[in-house]
């Protein structure tokens, strides 16, 4: 039968718009305005899932974000799969396709359910850890099957076609929750002239007013609601965001709002004018004041069989009947400890169904709602509760008994009542999640039987979120809090007339969490506390018996409040049970804290547009296009894209990297090569004290460097460890150009600024990054001079333009600075021109370079060539624990400089003068064909029992076409004293390589080639 549970009239649904949808492959019908949950209930679908651990059948329990069971997998195609969707929060749309996330082969007949049934007693908390812990090597195998049987949805196997946006926003007042408190506070703020954002997670704004019986100013609540929304809609200072969840509250009133823009329309965002719409927006809001008007969640009672489909929260029953015109059963038993639960009974009666009985845990309740139900002839059993529900796939009867809550026992005859639905209400828990996201712990309040938030600075709570209950009081509080928020921001609070609500006589609520059973908790049928994580009252009791006394430990041992649920429904009941077992009060047991996100947020929304080519900024040199056109393979160096090598294709065959690098290396050693070195960090330093400053930040001397000369420098941190290196050129007496490693450029500039601004502000100098302003082209090899001479007016004579000189002139008609420095060990000129002229110069060099077979080379060849010369790369051959002396670079240390430069004092600390420090050496594998693995550990005795003492590791390793052998740089304990010794490198595959410790300089030890 179609929509058998749908009432003939009522509800906020559009009956003229029928929608079809599928759930687990079956087709159903619903109406526009339904949620997936209300539509499933309308169609009498009882089982929506299997439970996480015991595979028990589960049905819908709630009507909002707190729903623990109806967590579904959405999506009609592979790319549109979305896990973790709560059916209670998913608007119905035409063609919606959803599946249960759990259950194999399906939710109706589940094999794991048998195990859960047979093995329930055999699956205590910690079951998986206790059972599958040995042998440890099998855990990965076990885990695969455990995960398969305990899934909570799966991620899509194909790329997401949707796009997601991020928006940065600022406002005076952010109101979270558009129920009665949120709306009155927003109204006050808006009328006071504040910039206001109101967000609400539901499809429609209004919160509890959407299903309220009560009249506001003697009009239906819905009328007041539409007036208020219309007023705010018309106010340009107000932004209303429905379908928008405040998922995280972060420091200093920074709140992330997730706005779902198209998820109520289709499973992928629609196209408009040929463009795909953004599926969702993540609003990053910085608010002057945040008003948390998030309301309260009803607490279910904990009784045996409380997870059988047909058990509902009392408030959810009312919502389904009043908002969706769905009555999810025929015969209702209500179990409550407060007056509010009676609303469910009244709505049930109004829907024309039978209320079998109300079990009220209190003695002689006489509230207005109680009397309203009594007057309609419903049997009310005082001092009693539902202690157990029976049924396979749906509740068929309940056992009701008088209880003595204080003594935690049954106090009279148990009677069995036939019914198909149980509604329970244990009270209301303020939704305080956001207030505790930054670490504040909420405090217990006996009056409201719940936790109230400890508010971070800048946040205010209004209405039910701080424990208020009665509608009139909630509205008045909203107005007062709105006024307080705008006054905090130095605005005058506008007057708002709060609508009048008739107040009802209420009998006091009673604190009831777990209902006693005729058997002790450990032997009674399962009484569920956390339905999503399958945590029972018995599990909590067992955890406390096993010595887990801290609520944080109980949580981790039982998994209560974990995962996507974040304890919305079960946490307080769980704490109350732990408190009972430990003989303490709830405040003594304390609470766990909630973490973002409040409800799951899809990764797409978090990522926004920062994916694919926009994942990370890419930096290109001025010559990038040439590299692309000439077939370069690229390497990522920080954000830079650098040519890695330039493979050539000959006779249809493309070179491998090994072949290309060998060719490039030999071209530099025997002819001439060219490297785009533009990414090198460049810092322009000017000022009368620039030279003094260099002397303090570098290890070596700068006092006498004349204009026109270049010097290599090492930079240490004050602990004496090498941090970066590079060359600095003297452009004028008060003007220097420093180069840094590519990856270290920004950090080095910040480091220099730190010293200048905090320690030596009296030094007169300024620094500026010029990395992007200058393009750098390194022309290097024996024929470099011949090539460059064809293009420049600079005198390249070996005595006029010496090694470590720089000259200014023109190259290819363009003003240039040419530095004769060498990172290859060959004759080399680094040509610097303005970046915009770089392509012209580069192409001119190639036009003239053809006859010299000018060969472009990339970073891989650069590495081989520099390592053959023993030139270090800071961050590769050093790791923050290497001193200049460890590198054998005493020649670059000015021990007698007058100022105690950065790093000097540390070089005489006992640890830095140890003889057995790891020192940089060369390694020559005994087998020339071996290229050692970078990072490989070095041992002295490969026969030593495991664990072998490790004396060092390989830092750089390549194949040298010049040496026709593999070679490496490595750090070895006391390595400088071990020249000629043999060391061993045991590899993961069992092979042991043998290598000889040699000098770090493999090619041209005397440095003659760069000096020609």
């Amino acid at each position: 039968m179609r929509q058998s549970n749908r009432l003939k009239q009522g509800g906020r649904i559009e009956r003229s718009r029928r929608l079809t949808f599928t759930f687990n492959g079956n087709s159903y019908e619903g109406y526009a305005g339904d949620t997936l949950a209300s539509a499933l209930l309308a169609n009498g679908v009882d089982i929506v899932n299997r439970s996480f651990k015991y595979s028990r059948p589960r049905g819908i329990v709630a009507a909002g974000a707190e729903e623990p069971n109806a967590v579904v997998q959405l999506g009609s195609s592979e790319p549109s799969q979305v896990p973790n969707v709560r059916a209670t929060q998913q608007a119905l749309y035409e063609g919606l396709s959803a599946r249960s996330t759990n259950g194999w082969p399906n939710v109706q007949r589940d094999l794991m359910g048998l195990i859960g049934k047979l093995g329930g007693k055999m699956m205590p908390p910690g079951f998986y850890y206790k059972t599958f812990m040995a042998p440890a090597s099998m855990w990965l195998t076990y885990e695969r099957y455990i995960r398969k049987s305990a899934g909570l949805g799966r991620s899509p196997g194909e790329s997401d076609p949707d796009i997601y946006d991020h928006l940065n926003r600022h406002c005076d007042v952010l109101v979270i929750g558009a129920g009665p408190a949120g709306l009155t506070s927003a109204l006050v703020a808006a009328r006071s002239g504040a910039r206001v954002i109101v967000c609400d997670e539901q499809e429609e704004m209004g919160g509890s007013l959407l299903a309220s019986h009560q009249a506001l100013d003697e009009r239906p609540a819905a009328d007041w609601l539409s007036d208020v929304l219309a007023e705010m809609e018309a106010n340009a200072n107000v932004t209303l965001l429905a379908r928008t969840t405040a998922n995280g509250y972060h420091d200093h009133n920074f709140v992330t709002l997730h706005e779902r823009r198209t998820e109520h329309l289709a499973d992928t965002a629609p196209m408009v004018n040929g463009r795909r719409q953004a599926r969702s927006r993540l609003h990053r809001v910085r608010a002057g004041r945040v008003i948390m008007a998030t309301g309260a969640h009803e607490r279910p009672l904990v009784y045996a069989g409380n997870d059988i489909p047909g058990n509902f929260l009392a408030g959810a029953i009312s919502t389904y009947i009043r908002r969706y015109a769905v009555v999810p059963g025929n015969k209702l038993v209500l179990s409550t400890a407060n007056d509010d639960g009676y609303r469910a009974a009244l709505d049930w009666l109004d829907a024309g169904r039978e209320v079998v009985a109300v079990a009220d845990a209190r003695q002689a309740p006489d509230g207005a709602l109680v009397e309203a139900v009594r007057s309609r002839g419903v049997r009310i059993i005082d001092g009693a509760a539902v202690i157990e529900a029976h049924g396979e796939n749906r509740v068929s009867s309940v056992r009701v008994a008088p209880i003595d809550a204080a003594a935690f026992r049954i106090s009279g005859e148990i009677e069995t009542l036939k019914c198909d639905t149980v509604a329970s209400s244990g009270g209301f828990s303020p939704v305080i999640h956001l207030a505790s996201h930054t670490g504040s712990r909420p405090s217990w309040n006996d009056d409201i039987i719940g936790f109230i938030p400890s508010l971070p600075k800048g946040m205010l709570a209004a209405g039910s979120a701080q424990g208020l209950h009665e509608l009139g009081a909630v509205l008045r509080d909203g107005a007062a809090v709105g006024a307080a928020a705008v006054r905090d921001l130095a605005l005058d609070a506008a007057e708002v007339e709060v609508p009048q609500v008739a107040s009802l006589h209420e009998s006091a609520a009673m604190a009831l969490f777990q209902v006693p059973h005729d058997k002790p908790t450990l032997r009674a049928p399962k009484q569920f506390v956390d339905l999503q994580n399958d945590v029972t009252a018995a599990a909590i009791e067992l955890a406390t018996r096993e010595g887990f006394e801290s609520i944080e430990h109980v949580k981790r041992y039982t998994a209560m409040g974990f995962g996507t649920d974040q304890g919305k429904l079960g946490n307080i009941n769980g704490m109350a049970i732990a408190a009972r077992c430990l003989g303490r009060t709830i405040p003594e047991v304390g609470t766990t804290v909630f973490r973002p996100n409040y409800t799951p947020v899809t990764f797409g929304a978090i990522v926004g547009r920062h994916c694919r080519e926009l994942f990370d900024p890419e930096r290109y040199t001025a010559l990038h296009q040439w590299h692309v056109e000439n077939g370069a393979e690229f390497e990522e160096v920080g954000q830079w894209k650098r040519p890695w090598y330039f493979p050539r294709t000959a006779k249809g065959k493309r070179e491998t990297m090994h072949e290309a690098v060998a060719r490039e290396c030999l071209a530099v050693r025997e002819g001439v090569g060219i490297l785009d070195a533009s990414t090198l960090g460049k810092i322009d330093i000017q000022g009368p004290d620039a030279r003094e400053f260099l002397g303090r930040v570098y290890t070596n001397k700068w006092a006498k460097l004349p204009v026109g000369r270049v010097r290599y420098g090492l930079m240490c941190k004050d602990d004496g460890m090498v941090m970066d290196d590079g060359t600095t050129s003297c452009l004028a007496e008060d003007h220097f150009l420093m180069t840094t490693s590519t990856g270290g450029a920004a950090a080095v500039l910040e480091w220099l600024e730190l010293w200048h601004q905090t320690e030596w502000p009296e030094l007169d100098l300024t620094m500026s990054s010029v990395t992007d302003h200058w393009a750098t082209m390194t022309v290097t090899g024996p024929k470099a001079r011949d090539l460059l001479a064809e293009l420049t007016d600079i005198d390249l004579d070996r005595d006029a333009f010496r090694f470590m000189d720089w000259r200014e002139g023109k190259v290819a008609g363009v003003p240039a600075r040419v530095f004769r420095i060498s990172f290859t060990g060959e004759l080399a000129y680094e040509i610097n021109v303005q970046a915009r002229a770089a392509m012209h110069v580069w192409k001119a060099l190639f036009a003239h370079g053809e006859k010299y077979d000018l060969t472009p080379y990339g970073t891989e060849t650069m590495h081989v060539l520099r390592a053959e010369k023993g030139f270090i790369i800071a961050g590769q051959d050093t790791d923050g624990s290497v001193t200049p002396e460890d590198l054998g670079m005493q020649w670059a240390v000015g021990y007698d400089k007058p100022f105690s430069w950065i790093g000097k004092r540390a070089l005489t600390r006992p640890d830095t003068v140890r003889k057995d420090r790891k020192q940089l050496v060369g390694l020559r594998p005994k087998d020339a064909s071996v290229v050692l693995e970078e990072g490989a550990q070095i041992v002295l005795d490969p026969q030593h029992a495991i664990p072998m003492p490790m004396v060092g590791h390989v830092t750089s390793s390549y194949y040298s076409p010049t040496l026709e052998s593999g070679f490496a740089l490595a750090v070895v304990k006391g390595g400088h004293e071990r020249m000629g010794e043999t060391v061993y490198l045991p590899m993961a595959d069992g092979k042991v390589h043998e290598a000889e410790i040699v000098s770090t300089i493999f090619v041209d030890p005397k440095g003659e080639r760069q000096n020609v």
């Binding site: 420091d251 200093h252 920074f254 600024e753 730190l754 601004q757 320690e759 105690s900």
Partner: protein
Amino acid sequence: MFHIYCPYCEEWREEEEFHPKGQAHIQRPIDPESCSDEEWGDYLFFRDNPRGIHHELWVHAVGCRKFFNITRHTQSYEILETYRMGETPSVTAESVKREAIAAAASTATSESAEEVRA
């Protein structure tokens, strides 16, 4: 994410523009060579880790590139003030403690006044 007032730009900016640089007011000894190994080790490696008021050095890395100080509460993460290099903080652990004692004293006084009235 912190909201930080740059005392040089004189604007509130997002944390993404700043880098934290550790504890503030660590002064490099004027004459390192006369420091004992222990003194130099203290300067290099030892930092406070208070629960409460902490002075930190930050830099407006992608803004004005200026270094400045932040006084922050390490439990609540509240930033109590920001101030330029060379300035002394007006909020310190001591000043907060003094104020708390003064506040407690004034409450005590008003309570005893009430008692007198009663």
